[in-house]
């Protein structure tokens, strides 16, 4: 207790006077202000790691080659173990952090498990669904089936494999890709192929999907429809029109080859109008549970209760109007835009 008190006041003259460090470290005495490194069994914190790393590095930089040769084996023995440990730990941490980051960020934008639900299709489902999209006139039950979860009373919708009325993402995504390739192929058959057409058609299709989502989202916001359906449902439903567009494109091209009306002739228009009508009817029936969630009398929307009966009535009328306008007028515009490539 006494001696440090005495020796502390003149710290400026202390470096040449005392040599407290062990022999092998005394080669770089003035840089070794922290206590000499402990044996590697000691648990290392981040602070200790930084200190040990900085000390020998600085010593080597100041001392040059001679010092390095002197402390070579010691240096290796001393640095190897903790560094390896630290690097291993650090790598593990970084890897897990990166994985977590990717999972978080992808999972935030795209719910992977929810997406898997939409791709759970079977052959018979795809065939029947395509038939329904093209010939929706005689399809009878349009409501989606729910299944009660075993814990609570909230039900969840059945996957497309088990419910024919459930929206899927398989048909829309395949139809989107097919549309892009087909429209470019048709342009190639006309002798107007250009690689940029692929990008252009992709942009057009994505733009149509985006605008449709925007339209239906703003519609549900303005009409204050609080539906429990997800964005992916709407995306899937808006993707079904590519099927009709593909059929009408193919048919008009075939009819042109057969000489039955030219491009944009009456036969092509007829096919287009039929596909549009079928798709609009399909959407009108399918989107009912999205836009008119107060079906069957439970819950009258935001008006609420028996007091807002007239309000709910007018709201329902307005919603029906919006549904009609969306599935006929808006779809007509978009399908026309898509099939005029």
């Amino acid at each position: 207790m006494q001696r440090p008190n005495y020796s502390n006041p003149p710290p400026a003259h202390s470096p040449p006077l005392h040599h407290p460090v062990p022999q092998h470290v005394s080669t770089v005495p003035q840089l070794r202000s922290p206590p000499p490194p402990q044996p590697p069994s000691q648990p290392h914190s981040g602070y200790g790691y930084g200190q040990q790393h900085g000390g020998p590095g600085a010593g080597a930089g100041a001392g040059g080659g001679g010092y390095n040769n002197n402390m070579g084996p010691n240096f290796n023995n001393f640095m190897n173990d903790p560094t390896a440990q630290m690097m291993g730990q650090f790598g593990k941490t970084a890897y897990s952090a990166g994985q977590e980051y990717v999972e978080q960020n992808i999972g935030r934008f795209v719910n992977v498990s929810a997406l898997k639900h939409y791709f759970n299709v079977s052959n018979s489902y795809v065939g029947t669904k395509l038939y329904i999209v093209l010939f929706p006139w005689w399809h009878r039950p349009w409501s989606r089936q729910q299944r009660m979860s075993n814990s609570g009373q909230d039900g969840y919708y059945l996957p497309p494999r088990e419910d024919i009325n459930s929206p899927d993402m398989y048909i829309p995504s395949m139809a989107l890709v097919t549309y892009i390739l087909l429209s470019t192929l048709l342009a190639g058959l006309r002798g107007a192929f250009h690689p940029e057409l692929l990008g252009y058609n992709t942009t057009l299709a994505l733009l149509v999907l985006l605008l449709e989502l925007l339209v239906i989202k703003s519609g549900t916001f303005l009409l204050s429809i609080s539906s429990s359906s997800q964005l992916l449902d709407l995306l899937a439903y808006s993707g079904y029109k590519f099927v009709g567009v593909i059929i009408s494109l193919l048919a008009s091209e075939l009819l042109t080859h057969l000489g039955l009306g030219g491009r944009g002739g009456w036969a092509g228009w007829l096919v287009f109008l039929y596909c549009f009508g079928a798709n609009a009817f399909f959407l009108l029936r399918s989107l009912r549970y999205v836009l008119l969630p107060d079906q069957g009398g439970q819950g009258v929307g935001v008006g609420g209760g028996a007091a807002g009966y007239t309000v709910a009535r007018s709201q329902k009328f307005r919603r029906t109007q919006f549904l009609f306008v969306y599935s006929y007028v808006v779809q007509f515009g978009f399908m026309l835009w898509l099939s005029k490539v």
Binding site: G199, T203, L207, L210, S224, G303, V311
Partner: protein, 84 residues
């Protein structure tokens, strides 16, 4: 051609948000009765109507997007000056 022409959509949306954000509360919106402040004496307003929703949307956009719009507009202007 930013992103195969999706840049046009970006410009349109930025311009539309600008157009909403530039509306003056005192000089324009109050005159045509599109302010969101309810009259205190006249009971509850019809919150579910389309007009109420629109008013709410306009005021929300004006409040929320004011600061980000400055940044976005600056970016777009610089981009257009350099590369446009």
């Amino acid at each position: 051609m930013v992103l195969f022409g999706l840049g046009g959509l970006l410009y349109v949306s930025v311009l539309l948000i600008n157009a909403i954000a530039i509306l003056s509360e005192d000089r324009f919106l109050a005159r045509i009765g599109w302010t969101s402040s309810a009259d205190p004496g006249f009971g509850g307003r019809d919150e579910a109507s389309v007009k109420a929703r629109l008013v709410n949307l306009v005021s929300s956009v004006r409040t929320l997007m004011r600061i980000p719009l400055i940044v976005i507009n600056t970016f777009v202007i610089i981009y257009e000056l350099i590369l446009g």
